[in-house]
């Protein structure tokens, strides 16, 4: 079972690095999804480890929330793109010192 959790950790870390290094907002978003998926994997693995379905339910909820989040996030990206003609997260940097 450990191998699943380790795989989850690796995927999570890769997602993290992706969020930090990619500049295209959509790709950043995908990396966030990757991190969520990695967590889901851990949940499902632990559900099997402990023999109850709570982990799977949680993974299910994570998916629902992720769906809602993607809808809003992509709408925001659209709006920003519409006004700024750019999907780069670095361009939206007016809110600073």
């Amino acid at each position: 079972m450990t191998q699943y959790v380790v795989l989850s950790a690796i995927l999570f870390t890769i997602g993290c690095v992706g969020v930090l290094t990619r500049r295209n907002a959509i790709v950043v978003f995908m990396c966030v999804e990757l991190m969520l998926n990695a967590c889901n994997l851990a949940f499902v693995a632990f559900a099997r480890q402990h023999g109850n379905l709570d982990g799977q339910i949680t993974a299910f909820f994570v998916m629902v929330v992720a769906a809602a989040e993607v809808v809003i996030g992509l709408a925001i990206i659209m709006t920003i793109f519409r006004t700024r003609r750019s999907a780069s997260v670095d361009d939206a940097s007016l809110l600073k010192y």
Binding site: M1, T2, Q3, Y4, V5, V6, L7, A9, I10, L11, T13, I14, C16, V17, G18, L20, T21, R22, R23, N24, I26, V27, M30, E33, L34, N37, N40, L41, V44, A45, A47, R48, Q49, H50, G51, N52, L53, I57, A59, F60, F61, M63, V64, V65, A66, A67, A68, V70, V71, I72, L74, A75, I76, I77, M78, T79, F81, R82, A87, D90
Partner: protein, 276 residues
Amino acid sequence: MTFWLLAPIMVAAALGILFVRKAVHAALLLAVVMISLAFLYAVLDAPFLFAVQIIVYTGAILMLFLFVMMLIGVDASDSVVETIRGQRAMAVVLGLVFGAVLVVGLGQVTLGTVVGLDAANEGGNVPAIANILFSKYVFAFEATSALLITAALGAMVLAHRERLTPKATQADLAAQRLRDYADHGKHLGPLPSPGVYARHNAVDTPALLPDGTAAESSVSRVLAARGTVRSAPAMADDIDDVRRQLGGLDGHSDPATMPETSGKAGTPASTEEDEK
């Protein structure tokens, strides 16, 4: 076994996301990871999640990504130059340390024997999940419904664009067209259709004018900009070939079979090479 097969693929695809320059490729690599995950769910005795992962995640969410990408430009590819000083190096270092700490930490944990879901899934995984979802987690479930509605409304509000000018009516459009004709001599009628030939009709081939020249306005400007327009004169040889073949058969061949045979001759491929 399935795990050891899928895990390297997933890690490789995930790493690919970090390095590919086009967002579309990243989306495809993510799809690979997600579908692999779906299989892992199946292996982990979660058939319901297996289905949901494929249908909702890969089918809906990832498609939404692709739609948005289409709206804001598919070709837009990231520049590889890092603009924030030290960001990339720090990200990599921190990411490596974080991953190493997680893996090492998890390696230290002894999980004990696996209980397995056989007992829990008795009577089927989906009814078992439904049992918990509509009893123990019913409030959370209802809350997610509110969340989804809010998200839908929010997306609509965000995506809505106020119309700043009145919408052009049919009459306005007709008047504008006539004005353009009067001022610039712009063609009044519809644009000519692209070329239509016996063996090859396509939107990327311009129509031929009576004098044998290509009608530029009969193909989409997008295709012209991409440089994928076939030129009619270049096709002339094909026509001669066809005519020769027809002539070789003394005009008694079955017209229905001809395109197939000519297609098998691989001429389209050769034309593409001619272009280059």
